[in-house]
Amino acid sequence: MEQAIRLTTPLTSADVEKLRIGDRVILTGVIFTARDAAHKRLIQLLETGESLPFDLQGQVIYYVGPSPAKPGRPIGAAGPTTSYRMDAYAPELISRGLKGMIGKGARNQAVKDAMQQHKAVYFAAIGGAGALMAQSILSAEVIAYPELGPEAIRRLEVKDFPVIVVNDTHGGDLYVEGVKTYAR
């Protein structure tokens, strides 16, 4: 396999434009967690013109609802959740500066179009490898909606967090191309 590409968050348009589907990327820096319940609230804030709990510019959102941290640990298991549930909300966030999303599973055309138009990428993390993924998370802090429990927005500090580019800024889709290679 190709050598992995190292990127530090926040990401720029130049960072993401050079990525191609199938690229293995190692992320380091701060990323934010949000699932559907949190996305719904973020969109409501945007609609009423209020400020978000974090600045979207160049940021990466990780679709995850971690299990509770054991004492002495930053987080419990923390693998990706299925991304289509965020499709209704993602284009708006992308148009306002979001540069990356981490999840698992296919995105709809509206999200793919927004990624091409506004230069953003969709990464897959390994679904169900929550214990392994947690090893790359150094700290976790709830910054909004603690009442949502696992669905609260968390600020994660990650180091060498492994992901794969599924949708790039050029219209590529690894889920489509990868399957074509092996279907018979």
Binding site: K104, G128, A131, L132
Partner: protein, 279 residues
Amino acid sequence: MREIHVNEITNAIRDMAIHSNTELGEDVLNSFKEALEREESPAGKDILQRLIENARIAKEELIPMCQDTGLAVVFVELGQDVHIVGGTLRDAVEEGVRRGYDEGYLRKSACHPFTRQNTGDNTPAIIHIDLVAGDRLKLIFAPKGGGSENMSRVTMLTPAVGVQGVKEFVVQRVKEAGPNPCPPTIVGVGIGGTFEQAALLAKKSLLRPLGSSNPDPELDRLEKEWLEDINRLGIGPQGLGGRTTSLAVHINMMMCHIASLPVAVNIQCHSARHKEVEL
């Protein structure tokens, strides 16, 4: 009458909640290793290796292998010569779920369908009770995650479509599910019965150990044939392309109405978790 105190049930459920979520069965691990030898896709091989590594970390550090520690699905086989004392069976199971999910640092995923308000303790559990002969109580704990459950379906086919039509529905379901249910998956198929019975047959088929044969030779043949068809789809581990879309197809079948052909497909992600105990 043999008496079983509810505390025994609560403790057993608590322990199984924790251990089912942190220790992947040897049958599933062996299945990963076999798939690793067959898989041609480099990304697919990499993912299978990481899943084996993930299971090792979860077991050693006693943390869940997947953050989605599921709704608590519990199968109870209650001997009709057992008398449960000290409270009700349902309350005992619910208390075990409450304790297991709290003390095991497991995620609580139960919520109200409309408000999405989390119940906070992962109850209610989904409890299926079978009354059987004897004076034993068997408890099976099978937490089920949302991602693969969302990709499951029940349908009522026209009898004319026959076995070919059933196969097409099953393979098409796996194809449409694509990367969403965390492949490599186990495909549980329930055929026959009624609408709700088909779903239960499919779910129960997932409890059979991986690598075991279906006791019915005809169904055993179909399981192997359908698995080959599914693995020709090319979806592969995590849907990134490859040979290992599913690890197994399991079929449970029973008689149905002369007008009906109910079929359920219950997809199980690779975190195929279940533990059982007999009291």
